[in-house]
């Protein structure tokens, strides 16, 4: 696993300098050093065949239950620290540390907690049915005698979200406090204040309107910075892929949907459900189309856009880094490494732009939809 891990580390280290939020990385590095945990259970194996690389990338794109930095091939050590697992099983709530799985991801290690047998298959925690001692798989590699449980664990994504939330509270709290001393912010606030003004003046005001934008600023600002920080965290060598989790983007989109549905003005509902100026026969199908558009299609496009962009970005960067392994036989180690480094650097720079762009577009479209809902039409 190692060689690949290390190379990702090296390539992403160079990207790190480009990441603007340097404070972010410094806090995290300190954290990571303190949390190193050694585990000698599984032997590391090198990732070098295309299948293994594909497996590795798809594993990275998923959520995981421990925080893995890298593994040492020679000694078989994993440098990682475990995160708490909180699952709701058929017998009730069970909590333990993810280190009890010993980095197993194939359903071999079975953890028994007060009569509940749990195992981890492809980053998902499964509960074995009563009486079973081992996971049986069918030909499609689906577990037959185990089912998934409700997983409220502090996974890597949840950890990332908490981290982003903490950073936001610290950064913007500092900005808010700095106003008590004077009209001009100091320190990090100097960098953050224009961003807040940008969201207010370029995103919220033009789309929602001068009069009503204030009510939605809390949501829009929080979502903008939340997505942006998580996107940027995904570019650090820490390997977060929070905004590439469909559950996360779905939650964000549903929040937007609920907000514009509940703040819709009378005009909005009148125009959606009983469109004036249209023959009566057409009004019912039109209402269905409008309603489906607002309830399903708009949130779906929001959630899919963010998810797909971030997943694709991570996929492309990791594939380009993997070039140095897959192209080694064809071009030799120096050329393949150089090529993958240059290409990965290029795409990573684009990804920094995409990180901002996706946060911007999510917020922009959210405010556009909110603006549609709160708009009051002139009656003619």
């Amino acid at each position: 696993m190692l060689l690949f891990r290390k190379e990702i580390m090296i390539a992403k280290q160079s990207i790190k300098f480009l990441v603007v939020l340097f404070t972010l990385t410094t806090t995290l590095t300190a954290f990571a050093n303190g949390g190193d945990h050694e585990n000698q259970h599984t032997k590391g194996n090198q990732v070098d065949s295309p299948d293994e690389i594909r497996e590795y990338i798809s594993h990275h794109l998923k959520d995981s239950h421990d925080f893995h930095f890298y593994s040492d091939n020679a000694t078989g050590r994993h440098f990682s620290f475990p995160l708490p697992v909180i699952v709701w099983t058929s017998e009730g709530l069970r909590t333990f540390m993810s280190s009890e799985f010993h980095h197993d991801d194939a359903g071999h290690v079975i953890v028994e907690k007060d009569g509940v047998k749990l195992t981890k298959i492809h980053s998902k925690i499964h509960e074995l049915e009563a009486g079973a001692h081992q996971v049986k798989f069918d030909e499609y590699h689906h577990a037959v005698n185990a089912h998934r449980v409700l997983d409220f664990s502090i996974t890597k994504s949840v950890f990332g979200m908490l981290l982003a939330g903490l950073l936001m509270l610290l950064g913007f709290g500092a900005l808010a406090r700095s106003y008590k001393k004077g009209h001009v912010p100091t320190g990090i606030g100097r960098f953050l204040e224009p961003l807040v003004i940008y969201v207010r003046d370029e995103i919220a005001k033009p789309n929602i309107g001068e009069k009503k934008y204030r009510k939605f600023m809390g949501f829009l600002l929080t979502v903008f910075f939340f997505i942006w920080i998580l996107n940027l965290l995904g570019l650090t060598p820490l390997g977060f892929n929070v905004t590439g989790q469909i559950a996360v983007t779905a939650c964000l989109a549903i929040f937007t949907m609920l907000i514009y549905m509940f703040s819709g003005s009378k005009d909005f509902w009148a125009h959606t459900l009983w469109m004036p100026g249209v023959p009566y026969l057409l009004r019912i199908p039109l209402a269905i189309i409008e309603l489906v558009g607002f309830v399903l299609i708009k949130p779906f496009s929001l959630l899919v856009r963010l998810f797909a962009n971030m997943t694709a970005g991570h996929f492309v960067v990791m594939s380009l880094i993997a070039l140095m392994i897959t192209m080694k036989e064809a071009f030799g180690p120096v050329t393949s490494t150089g090529m993958s480094l240059v290409l990965a650097l290029f795409i990573s720079v684009i990804e920094i732009l995409v990180a901002f762009l996706q946060a911007f577009i999510f917020t922009m479209l959210s405010s556009l939809f909110i603006g549609m809902a709160v708009e009051e039409h002139d009656h003619h």
Partner: protein, 62 residues
Amino acid sequence: MYNLIGAGLIVIGGGIGLGQIGGKAMESIARQPEAAGKIQTAMIIIGALLEGLAFGALILGK
């Protein structure tokens, strides 16, 4: 197999659409450089909507 063909078609369609948006936006910016900011924002929004459509089709078809 058919999935892959469908995905390819989606990507072609999305590419043509994005090219149109980008090209027309460039033209309008060249014609009215003072409106560049507004045109850019509108371009990004429409691009995002198109992208959402393409991704949606891609994922639903996958």
